[in-house]
Symmetry: C2
Amino acid sequence: MKKKVALGIDIGGTNTALGLVDSSGRFVYEETFATCAHESFALFRSRLSEKIHALCERFAGDYVLTGIGAAAPTGNYYRGTIESPSNFKWGNVEFVSLMQEHYDLPIVITNDANAAALGEMRYGEARSMHNFMVVTLGTGVGSGIVVNGDLVYGHDGLAGELGHTIVEPQGRQCACGRRGCLEAYASARGICRTVFELLSMHTDDSEFRYISFNALSAEMIYQFALRGDHLALAAFEYTGRILGRALADAAAYFSPQAIIIFGGLAQAGNFLLDPVRRHFDENLLNVYKGKVQILPSQKNKGNLAVLGASVLVQKELEKMGKLAAQ
Amino acid sequence: MKKKVALGIDIGGTNTALGLVDSSGRFVYEETFATCAHESFALFRSRLSEKIHALCERFAGDYVLTGIGAAAPTGNYYRGTIESPSNFKWGNVEFVSLMQEHYDLPIVITNDANAAALGEMRYGEARSMHNFMVVTLGTGVGSGIVVNGDLVYGHDGLAGELGHTIVEPQGRQCACGRRGCLEAYASARGICRTVFELLSMHTDDSEFRYISFNALSAEMIYQFALRGDHLALAAFEYTGRILGRALADAAAYFSPQAIIIFGGLAQAGNFLLDPVRRHFDENLLNVYKGKVQILPSQKNKGNLAVLGASVLVQKELEKMGKLAAQ
């Protein structure tokens, strides 16, 4: 008898990862190709379809494909759309209905933070948890929130915009057009802005004084911190203070069992996690103290979103099964 | 055949309301008595039991009691407890297990904001909604949050502490021991504090200059606003600015269809709602604009929490029915 696999797709601004994942979370196959987000979606779709077609031919002997799950920035579960993500030249894309022209299978999409949460819930740190959050720290700041064992999509599929809660009224300009959003502080770009704020405020000597804004990256800040640069350490402390306080607010809304930190900036490990945990505890309402863990994700990026996208397919099939049984 | 009714109880700091509610939300009977929260819980329980006993005798001919639902500050659904609410001398109370010594019926408890949300969902403004929030503005600021049609309890039953999200870092002292919580601004006491801040900042003449802090009430501020007092109007504007921004953050987490405003301070109507709506819109992330309604509750306090407590019983019975069917 053929084994069932779901196809998980993680569509990123730079690369797209594909994986055939069985029902125990094992990767039967995985592959990565360039998204070329500056080209049209039509071109992307034809490349993606070729890949899927090749996969289906190659694995048809041993496996049966149960569905396709995708994770993409602004991916909307309810509408099946990708909605003009920044860094993409795609505009609004009817992802699910366009893909369904080719495949008579359940096809579902959600955003990357939600997929990460599904991946953590079924195969990662959040196994056995019913109330938790995944916070993604990368180019942007996102969150996938699970309540009563289900993702929080909200009324229109756009819930979980932790990165656009306001942490500093009248604070830094944000790409969204407003001011003081968490994303302007706790993203990869945000910590670079913090370094420049610290350079303006203090007189300490630092390697950063030789680097232009556009030449600076979060990775460099991590490298400088490893070498003991005071400003780099202060930048992580500053970021941890803002993020820790924001997560204490999130805990007041959701009372989660854990908050799992994931994404590029999270690679800085304890440089970031130590101040996040300290300021989280300081700002946490008494009734939650000692009850909410701040955990680093144990998964790497591509893997987790693809896994999560495959879980989205499994959940969709379970839902269809339940409806059919009614 | 006897008609089914649930007993809803709203335990407030001053009064406790009881209601026998049928499955269509009709009150068969209602009554209010003094809580006497400064006495022991044992005394309260014996008075409550007498009332319930009398009700059961009186209505036994025509009705059958399906369960008891209670709403109380800090009421914890998971643990069945009331957990040392401020203004009560009760400490931690095992409400459900103590009541079950007398009644062989499903007995459930939740906090008052959650009960209000259940009441709105089944009989009020939120009929047909699956994602919305009820915000209670009274002595404290609370919230009952519904996601995917279910209340958000969180991991330990203590979710929804909107009043203790931090809106002004290093801002006003809050009763919880921290600083800058929404409750220090948007509660009945919070708006009194705002009047005193405005008196300190401005030189306008105002009736408020003849009133001591402890003599001032939110009701007086409303009465002064009706008479056109500039400081009273400015106090509502200030409150609306803080609350509107906080609700914009809440919308970023939950993407709700509506936020329903309820409780004592909400009685000020458009004095409060106009600035709340304006600042909510100004602070709302673009993707949510025009999608989230800010609505005043159409229910009065006692009624809504009792109704909601009766809904809690209905939901419990539905859940038990589903479990039994599995």
